[in-house]
Amino acid sequence: MKFYVNARYLIVPFMSLIAIAGILIGGSFAWVGVALFGLNTIIDTLTKNIHLPADFDETGESYGIKGFQYAVMFLMLPVFIVLQLVLAYRIFQYTSLTPIETAAFLGVSYEVGTSGFNLIGATLSSGLWAGLGIIYGHELSHNKKEGFLVSRLIMALSGASHFTYAHVYNHHLDLGHEDDAATAPRGRNIYAHAWLSHMGQSRFSYNLEEQRLSKRGSSALNFDNRWILGYLYSLPSIVLFVWAGGLVGVAALFTVWVVANFLLEALNFMGHYGLIRTEGPVEHRHSWDNDSVFTSWFFIEIGRQCDHHVRGETYFWELDDVEGPNYGIGYFSLFVLTLIPPLFRVYVQKHLDNWDEKYASRDEKVIAAQFS
């Protein structure tokens, strides 16, 4: 049981390595990372009706091994760095006009040089898998000092180091309020949300630092400002891509960051879309759960938002179903729907109606009525 509980959360590390191998092998394999996303969407949709509870032994102890899960999360930092390095290597070959030919390494044949088309595949693959850094960046933002720094570094690879502070000090505190940039109000589409939420969290993070430093009598403009420091953590990526390919490198890194941040904000969007909280503590009803089996294992239970927002200190492998609002489908399937806003609005309406009727408090119902 211990093996099963711990191994099931290794899908992303395993698939990230396949995406990296695809870029290294080159040719049409550069698209493997994109293809895996398609495959995952199919698996997620086919298994949408399987929901499993968290696993505990007869004494109520979780089977999750903390040391192992932390080691995996920490090791994902070098994996994401390698993902950027292999993309930079392909960009370098493309911009230095390396001839496209086949070679072999330890019996595995790979393509030296790359076409522009396959470079697009490598860039999109990198963006999609870098975007999954959020699941580790998120988990580590809640636990222990060392984890907090690793979280910041993982997020910095996608130019989003501000996330770690904004998530803890803004999203967890102001969930469901207008001042939480990461909660999408009813009627907003995912594209608008991605931009507004990203900028809102970054602004919050800057203001937070400004206030902290002013309490100490320091100016916001110094290297002790963790908002500035967070963006400086992204500097090595910028230098690498400029060096590897000049403008092409910048365009590729920009694409990686846009795709990665879009995925991050998609998770925020799906986790709380249209939910409202008036005064009082955060309760299960202020989040949507996405806990179909593939989503749970792939996204290391980040979809168990209802439990997470009430027990923010709880490790992901201990989060459980708390019978909160639930879309009934996994993140991959729902993500596809969000990409087509009119379709998403139709799909989500019945869930919102159900929320208004069964979950909302009297005051929350009043606010909800203003949206209809």
């Binding site: 809640h142 636990n143 222990k144 000092k145 907090f148 502070y165 803890v168 000090y169 803004n170 967890h172 505190l173 937070l208 206030q211 902290r212 309490k215 100490r216 503590p281 955060v282 027990r311 923010g312 200190e313």
Partner: protein
């Protein structure tokens, strides 16, 4: 130096200064979660170090802060020994003062 050879106790003891209450905190567990498991009505809201509801004053002993308290507590509070229970791991037995919920 001698401390290296001292057996490491598994748990630490917390005494609440305003009452006679004591409870134990397992190594690595937060002060708040141990207090709640012991049935103490410790105030809390977010459990992630962002709301400040769980703050208490450390009178005696050592803790390790898991997050920077400077975002939630004032400088003067920090100087007076205020800590966030949800983000405090114990490093010794401690004595704290806290306003418990009714």
């Amino acid at each position: 130096m001698l401390n290296l050879f001292k057996p490491r106790s598994a748990d630490f003891k917390v005494s609440l200064s305003d009452t006679e209450t004591t409870f134990t905190v397992k190594r690595g567990e937060s002060l708040l979660s141990s207090a709640l498991s012991a049935g103490i009505k410790w105030p809390f809201k977010c459990k992630v170090g962002s709301c400040g509801s769980c703050k208490c004053q450390l009178i005696d002993g050592k803790i390790k802060a898991q997050l920077d308290f400077g975002y939630v507590l004032d400088m003067s509070e920090i100087q007076d020994g205020y800590i966030l229970a949800c983000q405090s791991i114990l490093r010794s037995d401690i004595r704290v003062s806290v306003h418990l919920t009714k």
